[in-house]
């Protein structure tokens, strides 16, 4: 009888990084499918090209730097898919390629890869494209059909993710499985809703697919957001406040992307100031 002697705990939860990443990918697939339904093949090409480029770029980066290839963990696929969803359907196909390369090479691996990113890679890719080719990133004027089913199928959508906020219902599964935290989306959505109510902002202009994607998928990216419980409330609230300010003077969709990126900068600071304090009841004796 040969017994294994290892340290406790001797049971582990059935959870892995792969599970977290691939579940997010699966939760986003419905909205990608709706986008292809609404926009046709161009949307399909954008999604496929983004994901393919992400996987290829990560393989090349890890091969050339003699690291273990980790494309199977789903993180690269998720970065590619998220960026694709932020794009309008009329961009040339090289746009997602460039954006994804920036995201994977500079925002992810230059910072040390999975777990070490400072800024959400997909949003860095998006911001880069917005600055480099602003004219190409403008959604083509699409004749706005009257939507019969708002939030389910938005024919007037100008970006892939905006075609159906409801298709991202899979986020609830991620919350239920605790793959993403509930605190960030809660304060995020609550503050946006409250501001919209007080400032009389038209709900249809603010409660878009972009906001749902931001609250549940972009602002909950693990390594770029605070780890303390209170910090996560603050992070969500900060994103929401910035969105309202950006949106008031500019564009709500870009506001969502830039506010999350800006809040990423504050993550270390938030973590430091929400550091858990001393427990008085423990040290009594």
């Amino acid at each position: 009888m040969k017994l294994v002697v290892s340290a406790p705990p001797h049971i582990r939860e059935d959870i892995s990084v792969e599970k977290i990443m691939w579940s997010a990918v699966i939760a986003l697939l419905p909205v990608a499918i709706v986008a292809v339904y609404v926009f046709g093949l161009p949307a399909l090409y954008i999604v496929l090209m983004s994901v393919f480029t992400a996987v290829l770029t990560e393989t090349i980066v890890q091969k050339t730097s003699n690291k273990r290839i980790t494309i199977r963990d789903g993180s690269a696929v998720l970065i590619g898919l998220l960026l694709a969803l932020l794009l309008p359907p009329n961009v040339p196909l090289w746009i997602p390629i460039v954006g994804v390369i920036i995201a994977i090479v500079f925002a992810k691996h230059a910072f040390g890869g999975l777990g070490h990113t400072m800024f959400n890679p997909s949003l860095i890719g998006f911001a880069f494209l917005m600055m480099a080719w602003p004219t190409l990133m403008i959604p083509a004027p699409i004749p706005r059909f009257s939507t019969t089913l708002p939030y389910v199928l938005e024919y007037g959508a100008s970006r892939l993710v905006e075609t159906s906020p409801l298709a991202m219902i899979g986020a609830l599964y991620l919350l239920y499985k605790k793959y993403i935290d509930w605190r960030i989306p809660l304060s995020f959505i609550a503050i946006v809703a409250l501001s919209a109510l007080l400032l009389r902002i038209d709900a249809s202009s603010i409660f878009t697919g972009g906001l749902i994607l931001g609250a549940f998928f972009l602002a909950t990216d693990h390594s770029t957001t605070p780890v303390t419980k209170n910090g996560r409330f603050i992070f969500g609230a900060g994103c929401a406040t910035l969105i309202i300010i950006y949106g008031h003077f500019g564009n709500y969709f870009e506001g969502i992307c830039y506010s999350i990126l800006l809040m990423n900068c504050f993550t270390p600071l938030i973590d430091r100031y929400t550091k858990p304090g001393e427990r008085s009841w423990l040290r009594r004796s």
């Binding site: 009888m1 017994l3 294994v4 002697v5 290892s6 340290a7 406790p8 705990p9 001797h10 049971i11 582990r12 939860e13 959870i15 892995s16 990084v17 599970k19 977290i20 963990d73 890869g113 999975l114 777990g115 070490h116 605790k178 935290d181 693990h222 390594s223 780890v227 303390t228 419980k229 996560r232 550091k275 858990p276 001393e278 427990r279 009841w281 423990l282």
Partner: protein, 367 residues
């Protein structure tokens, strides 16, 4: 159905004794004192006194007693003992309990479900003894309140204890989490501002035996999970794990891991020859053990969400890994109760508890 099965006399017992009062070749009786606070749990011949494997790792000086017959010393209960006498009896009986003046005595009746059910079984089987033991503990510490914490899922135990309890004793339902049993957390969960003494229902039973029966602590209830039959066994202190597992029908296959006490904080054993000691409450046998590869931390903060001490295990583990023990100290690494909840929840399979222990050891060395 009987909750607790009694083992037949084991062939031999191995009892850790720091300063033996007996010699090799000597005959001992059940309950005979063989060391300071140590008693023989069987009758027979002392065949060896040497360093032998102990369930907590290192080898310790232990007496091996080969069983023959069942002769017991005469147990002499004491009537109406004073608080000081109770303290003396508890010490003499070898019950590992710290009796300090308290306002409240808390008994832990929760278990690491579903792997351990020993406390649950004790409450169903010995409610009177537990209540009387608690009364004695209250008298000895001067406490006016006694509280028994019972897992919310154990409604049958709750009913029995409520039917048996007397004035001054309360029962409270506790959400059974793996960490609930930890002393400080239990205190915190029940009461914050009072001097409280925490013990277990098993210890209360032992106190009852010592005071009302005059019997030292020589047996304990152990939950065996993973043998052919899952059972709560009343085992004599010093019984080798192998004998208890045989009592439960033996192994189901080729065992890969034998763990003493619960799955979250228990210790994996190199051999099944180690004995049951005071404080052993579970034996867990695993047949399928997979070594999982560690991946980098993704700061998902699942560990933060489950930490009962409100720490940041991810920061502690990463800092310990980078030998930045100063950061570990700032983030209160000393407060960690090593419950293992973080490592359980970690998707990257990082050995967080070991890293934290490492940081604690390094910090202690510096002082």
């Amino acid at each position: 159905m009987k909750q607790i099965t009694t083992m037949k006399m084991p062939e031999k017992v191995v009892i850790p004794v720091s300063e033996p009062l007996v010699d090799v070749g000597e005959m001992v009786k059940v309950g005979q004192k063989i060391g300071e606070g140590e008693h023989s749990s069987v009758s027979g011949e002392v065949v060896a006194i040497s360093k032998l494997p102990h369930p907590f790792g290192k080898s310790v000086l232990s007496a091996v007693i080969k069983t023959s017959g069942d002769v017991s010393v005469e147990f002499q209960p004491k009537k109406n003992p004073s608080p000081d006498e109770i303290k003396q009896i508890i010490k003499e009986a070898g019950i590992p309990a710290e009796l300090s003046p308290s306002d409240i005595v808390i008994l832990n009746g929760t278990d690491e479900k579903p792997y351990v059910t020993a406390n649950h079984a004790l409450m169903l089987e010995y409610p009177d003894e537990i209540i009387k033991g608690l009364k004695i503990l209250m008298k000895a510490t001067g406490a006016s309140r006694g509280i028994i914490g019972i897992g919310v899922s154990d409604s049958d135990a709750m009913e029995i204890m409520n039917a048996t309890r007397e004035g001054g004793i309360e029962t409270i339902p506790l959400k059974t989490t793996y960490t609930q049993g930890m002393e400080d957390l239990l205190k915190h969960a029940i009461i914050r501002d009072a001097e409280a003494m925490v013990s277990t229902v098993g210890m209360a039973k032992a106190v009852y035996d010592a005071v009302f029966m005059g019997k030292p602590l020589i047996e304990t209830v152990v939950t065996v999970t993973g043998a052919r039959e899952t059972q709560n066994v009343l085992a004599r202190i010093g019984t080798p794990l192998r004998s208890i597992i045989e009592h439960c029908g033996g192994y189901k296959g080729e065992p890969k891991k034998i763990i003493v006490n619960g799955p979250m904080t228990g210790v994996a054993q190199p051999t099944d020859e180690v004995p049951v000691i005071k404080g052993t409450y579970g034996i867990l046998i695993q047949y399928d053990v997979q070594m999982e590869e560690t991946q980098p931390c993704i700061d998902c903060a699942r560990c933060v969400d489950v930490c009962p001490m409100n720490l940041l295990p991810n920061v502690l583990a990463t800092s310990a890994d980078n030998a930045r023990f100063d950061i570990c100290a700032t983030y209160r690494v000393v407060d960690c109760v090593e419950c293992g909840a973080c490592a359980y929840a970690c998707p990257s399979k990082i050995p967080i508890v070991q890293l934290i222990k490492y940081a604690k050891a390094e910090l202690e060395g510096e002082e």
